[in-house]
């Protein structure tokens, strides 16, 4: 009996979560005229198109002025590069905070953590001026390099690394291994789920990035997906059907990534939550 209730509750939650996505996909296959025609009353056509069309996809993909697939490629490149660098740099930092004892380690860690309370909006202008002075405006460098530090990531990985018994690392030290060797041979293999979780979070964050690419990139051809989608809104209104089609295209890579790595993702979240 309890199982049935569980099952029912899960189904309802799943349907609620999926409904907007289903509406997005089906809505992207209707003409603008009928998209909101049935939106205020409950009926079949609230979801199911009256006349199916792929025109929105054609309009979005084959637009000479705003080549959407190019934006997908740009974003894929930036998000993958950032994810790779973030995993490398921040896990090394987390490893140092978790397992190496050096002077002032806890003070430095607290300083790092305090950066978490500063909202991104406050840092927008200083970061912008820094990137400008470095000459990185309007380049992928300006998007990638400032994103390679993740304080949240260091915190999360540190929590995870602390679970690894120090005795193992000490015996490796006695056998003559360097800290980097220990990191590669012992720590890294043990932390695959956490790394994948962290990697997905980072990738998603960069895939959805809007404000920073908006201010840093000026060349239309180097634009990121979210900024390109926002471009479908003008003073004269929003081209909702194009937005839905573009969003559907933009969701596919994320969905594929998540389906492949899903198992590790959930594992990673549960493990990093367990203490002791």
């Amino acid at each position: 009996m309890l199982r049935i209730i569980h099952f029912l509750a899960m189904t309802i939650i799943a349907v609620l979560c999926l409904l907007p996505i289903v509406w997005m996909v089906l809505g992207s296959m209707r003409s603008y005229q009928e998209l909101f025609q049935y939106a205020t009353q409950v009926n079949l056509h609230l979801l199911i198109p009256v006349k199916w069309t792929f025109q929105n996809y054609i309009d979005v993909i084959f637009d000479d002025q705003n080549p959407f697939l190019r934006y997908v490629f740009n974003t894929l490149f930036v998000a993958s590069t950032v994810t790779f660098l973030v995993l490398l740099i921040n896990s090394l930092a987390a490893f140092a905070f978790a397992k190496l004892s050096f002077r002032g380690s806890s003070v430095i860690f607290v300083l790092f953590m305090s950066a978490l309370i500063i909202p991104g909006e406050v840092m927008l202008v200083p970061n912008y001026m820094l990137v400008n002075n470095l000459g990185w405006l309007n380049s992928f460098k300006g998007l990638i390099i400032p994103s390679t530090l993740s304080v949240f990531g260091i915190f999360m990985m540190k929590q995870f690394f602390e679970e690894i018994p120090t005795e193992i690392l000490e015996s490796a030290r006695l056998d003559g291994a360097s800290w980097l060797q220990i990191y590669r041979a012992i720590v890294l293999p043990a932390s695959v789920p956490a790394m994948i979780t962290f990697g997905i979070i980072t990738f998603l964050g960069n895939w959805d990035a809007y404000l920073w690419p908006l201010v840093v990139i000026n060349d239309d051809r180097m634009q990121m997906i979210q900024v390109a989608i926002a471009n479908f809104t003008s003073m004269a209104g929003t081209e909702w059907t194009k937005v839905l089609a573009a969003n559907t295209i933009a969701t596919v890579p994320i969905l594929v990534l998540f389906l492949v790595l899903q198992r590790y993702y959930v594992q990673g979240i549960t493990m990093s939550g367990v203490k002791g």
Binding site: Q33, T40, P119, S234, G237
Partner: protein
């Protein structure tokens, strides 16, 4: 809601940074002395690249701007224009950030009422001498000239104007046997007539509302553009004539009358929708809809089965004691840090001059600013354009000209949300709005 808050926070923060970065007068004078040197030292053969930033419009608008740039480049071989279309919603975020870093475009598009805030911060190049020399200012209606000036100096040039009117669903009117409003600009319906019709047209069972008086409750500059005219129509003003206070104006008897009427549409008679679905008018969810000229083209392309003259028509904007609506649309200005103010002005002068503005008006269907362009465009004298052009030339007025305008705009948006959506006491809400505006004016003086 969180997103809205964070973007509001961003804009507020940036306004502060922009204000802090400015050194009044310094930027301007530096540019003025640098300019002749630049002109003298750089040989004519060198190519100048102008960065031109504007918020992305619809396909017709973007196409028209590209066409104007193409023409300009053909006529001026030494100048290349690098256009960037920025997402509309966050255009100001980007511009203000870039201004703080002194890397904004040479030419930026500016929504007319926000100009004073930019000019006051020293972010704009004074165009007065250029304009008086070659912009033919007599060709521009006086009310619009006022919106181009701050502190007696010209900073921006408008390419087009906009205007709003009462769109009504003709079939619904006929079904209920309600006489149709006049198309004559001088015979606007009163708000009482509108309310009468709205009560008859209202049909909650079918999900049809009588009237949407001012585009629901949105964000950005839209609320101030659509809702300030309601105050004007009832005889109120937002600020004192010298722009020093809102006290005694935004909380006057007339303003409260306007707010009480607006509130009654939502709360007493329930003829207006608290939540506005997208495109409510062409999908038949509201019978009367206050909307802008830009939606003429939108409805034609996106709703081919919803025909002007058969399904719907346009009447002048309703009045109470007087007819009024806001002018001031998108304009172009030159940034104070631009290295090429002269070339930037050449481009602006081409785009906003008779030839450029005519091309823009023809391609987009927007209202021309210049008398000469209106004269050369026969369709502007015909219905439905005649309604908008007539109102623009006779009854339109600029929104309050003050460097505190961003605060004024936000206060008006919140005021109408409070009384319409929140059913808040009109006296308390108006007192709050006055305080917000006066605090902002006070803060700028310091």
């Amino acid at each position: 809601m969180k997103k809205l808050f964070s973007s509001m926070l961003t804009v507020t923060m940036l306004s502060i940074v922009l204000a802090a970065c400015s050194n009044p007068g310094g930027d301007q004078s530096k540019n003025a002395t640098n300019e002749p040197q630049n002109g003298g030292s750089s040989p004519k053969t060198e190519t100048v690249t102008l960065k031109f930033w504007r918020p992305s419009g619809n396909d017709a608008e973007n196409g028209a701007i590209s066409k104007l740039i193409e023409n300009f480049e053909a006529k001026n071989p030494g100048i290349k224009v690098d256009l960037e279309n920025v997402p509309f919603d966050n255009y100001e975020t980007k511009v203000r950030t870039a201004l703080a870093g002194k890397t904004a475009g040479d030419i930026i598009a500016i929504d007319a009422p926000t100009m004073s805030s930019y000019a006051n911060a020293g972010a704009l190049y004074d165009l007065t001498s250029f304009m008086e020399a070659d912009a033919d200012l007599k060709d521009i209606p006086e009310g619009i000239l006022q919106s181009m000036k701050y502190d007696g100096k010209y900073y921006i040039a408008p390419i087009s104007e906009a205007n709003i009117a009462l769109f009504y669903n003709k079939k619904m009117f006929e079904a209920k046997g309600i006489p149709l409003p006049s198309k004559n600009v001088d015979e606007a319906w009163t708000w009482d007539q509108v309310l009468d019709a709205a009560k008859k047209l209202n049909d909650p069972a079918k999900g049809v509302y009588g009237i949407d008086p001012a585009q629901g409750f949105g964000g950005g500059e839209g609320p101030a553009y659509f809702k300030t005219p309601i105050l004007w129509q009832f005889g109120a003003e937002v600020l004192s004539p010298d722009g020093s206070t809102a006290k005694g104006y935004l909380d006057s008897k007339e303003a409260k009358e306007a707010l009480t009427f607006y509130q009654s549409l939502y709360q007493t008679y329930k003829v207006s929708p608290l939540e506005l679905p997208p495109d409510p008018f062409p999908t038949g969810k509201v019978a009367m809809f206050v909307d802008g000229i830009w939606d003429l083209a939108n409805f034609t392309t996106n709703f081919p089965n919803f025909k002007l003259g058969e399904d719907w028509d346009i009447a002048p904007l309703p009045k109470a004691k007087r007819q009024a609506m806001a002018n001031g649309s998108w304009t172009f200005g030159v940034t104070a840090d631009s290295k090429y103010p002269k070339e930037a002005w050449q481009l602006i002068n081409y785009m906003t001059g008779t030839e450029g503005a005519k091309i823009y008006a023809d391609m987009t269907g927007a209202l021309p600013v210049r008398y000469s362009v209106v004269d050369q465009t026969p369709k502007m004298k015909e219905y439905p354009y005649s309604v908008f052009v007539g109102q623009l030339q006779k009854y339109s007025m600029p929104r309050p000209v003050t460097p505190a305008y961003p605060a004024v705009s936000a206060a008006i948006r919140e005021l109408f949300e409070d009384v319409g959506q929140g059913n808040r006491d009109v006296n308390a809400a108006a007192a709050d709005a006055v305080k917000k505006i006066d605090d902002a004016i006070e803060a700028l003086k310091r």
